[in-house]
Subunit: 419 residues, 2 copies
Amino acid sequence: MSDLMKHLVEFTHCDLAQAEDARRMMSLSLLDWAACGRAGAAEPVSRITRDMVLAEGGQGAATLFGSRACVPPRAAALVNGATSHALDYDDTHFAHIGHPSVAVIPAALAVAQDRDASGGDFLDACLVGFEASIRIGTWLGRAHYQIGFHQTATAGAFGATVAAARLMGLTPDQTAQALGVASTRAAGLKSQFGTMGKPYHAGLAAQTGVEAATLARAGFQSNPKGLDGPQGFGPTHAGEGNLAALDGLNKDWWILAISHKFHACCHGTHAMLEALASLPPPNTVDEVVVATHPRWLTVCNIPAPATGLEVKFSYAHVAAMALSGVPTGALESFSDAVAQDPALVALAAKVRVEADDAIPETATRVRVNGQEAAFDLDAPIPLDVRQEKLLTKARALLGAEADGLWASIKAGPDLGALT
Amino acid sequence: MSDLMKHLVEFTHCDLAQAEDARRMMSLSLLDWAACGRAGAAEPVSRITRDMVLAEGGQGAATLFGSRACVPPRAAALVNGATSHALDYDDTHFAHIGHPSVAVIPAALAVAQDRDASGGDFLDACLVGFEASIRIGTWLGRAHYQIGFHQTATAGAFGATVAAARLMGLTPDQTAQALGVASTRAAGLKSQFGTMGKPYHAGLAAQTGVEAATLARAGFQSNPKGLDGPQGFGPTHAGEGNLAALDGLNKDWWILAISHKFHACCHGTHAMLEALASLPPPNTVDEVVVATHPRWLTVCNIPAPATGLEVKFSYAHVAAMALSGVPTGALESFSDAVAQDPALVALAAKVRVEADDAIPETATRVRVNGQEAAFDLDAPIPLDVRQEKLLTKARALLGAEADGLWASIKAGPDLGALT
């Protein structure tokens, strides 16, 4: 077995006693995932994949977003993966270049429900799967992404396999076999961005994890060198093979660098929104100045947005919403009516956007009535603050349901109360 | 839509009135596929995948090799693909660099059974799927294969999608969407050769076809440029983009160059076996000379094989079997007992193998007691002769069942009588 495989297999079954902060971050991502999944259950890609597996039926204890039916675990993994990524509002890891939760959690949940695992074991499996997908995504590197592969789908499949293998209690050899199966099944291309293919990738990754572990458990013999050996997944998919990506497993938790979306608009506007929120709310607004890195001016600086979708890409209008108390974490805030609201349009007209290439891409500086503030998305967010922000987001997505969801995550989690 | 996609989509729904020979070849490959599938139903990869979907259960009219249960079409496609390729005794197309039947037929059968299609419509769908997979495999080309991808899995997925799309009566746009889904789901690496991963690839391809068409029919929006557009499947998977591979669709039928295996041993020995069979059976054997291309001497020239598996790679022993009337189309002929049979060992000692680089790789020349014969596998086999040879093979695999199977293929085919 290669060093990479040895590290991965050992990590799959490691003791997590020292991973307190990582486990806490995992439970926050679980809250965010469940909120995104519930809020996305009516999206077309969610309905289409769900209808497919509901028409198939079958025995199983795995639950689905948007249905009271229980289905076999492979089916649930596919549907819940696609559903939780349907809004593209779930978490991101920038080094991994992907969305870890939507590939890993659906696989772990489906297997955990199928095997009646404890909430704690489920959360641990999510955590090792998360971390493994982040590490494998980084091992594949930017070259893999640039040529056209989508790490959420590809690295995600390996993370999902690790999570499923841990919950099934696979032996080290079976774990390697499962990763071998995932190596020949993992797929997903960036050319699907902007279509239902993107959220579908998350479902494919999750399903691959469940299927690979299920087959390996039954004695399936694959090539356990299929990930990094000759003509393995990495070498055939433009993987960089950054072995440093495996350093410090079960010690340095890269999950702690997860980025959550707190606003349902373009990521380029998020630093501005955080900076505005740090200022005392003004009674009247005379002047707003937003200074940002020049690259964003071609991305999210639509001066007079006509639709809700355009609002998501308008510094001025989003700033006006925030200054008027419109909840930017709520999907429905980005409506055509909001785009055309006269008070917001008038306020947006007072916002001046300036380019400043001394400001990092992740940061924005604002000035409201002469008072300045700045925010950098790279700044660490204390877990308590993050928790409050994620609860606010969940409430914006789900209303009162959000607090019940968080209570059932803290109490276990309760596997039956997530979807 | 690109020219490639236009051709493919149009071909999916084409009129097949002029394709008599191709349809006949398709029915022969169907016989061969069903015989290989039935004979492979007890193999470990068949049992493992079948057990997985039987444990899931579900509603569906699709049948499985090795079980009386009916399951949902996606499940049947996966299992029947893996099962029919388990023995690696199914058909090959050398330009496609893959095994068309095991990817395409399971998808077509599952969808046809699910929709209660006629036998004729099923056979037509198999034919367009076959031809499409051969053309796409050739479009991807040798570079795709050499870098590590397995056309049976990759090109096979597009063929399976075409077959399923035809049977479901998808619109041209839906067909393009289905091919878009297949583009982001197709996968399979040659590094799995020699493991259960290889037959599993055929199942993956078949299942991809069923799933892609099912989703497209329900309104799934993918990227219809996902096959050959920027960062599409071809460009990201070392595809050569040989557009000539699409020439003469529905006119020149490349399926007619399908190669069937008539002997359950290394392909390198097949030309010798055909040459020997063309000579009158000798009463006694004094001397046998086998002249073949030098590359085969490192592949299938084990002089004194100790096991049934080694016999498959021994010119001398396989020649002795043929000269003694041992059926080389039967799997059980390649046993340890046959390897150690004193009469066969004595006869094998009379066989001299010579290298001759003037002989093509596909040909062999033999001399028995001074009488010469030669055979080239590239030589066309008349359909009547091929039919007889495939029936002989099917009888060797299935016994008396083979004739019933052939009768039910000729009479429809009868979809319920194939697996």
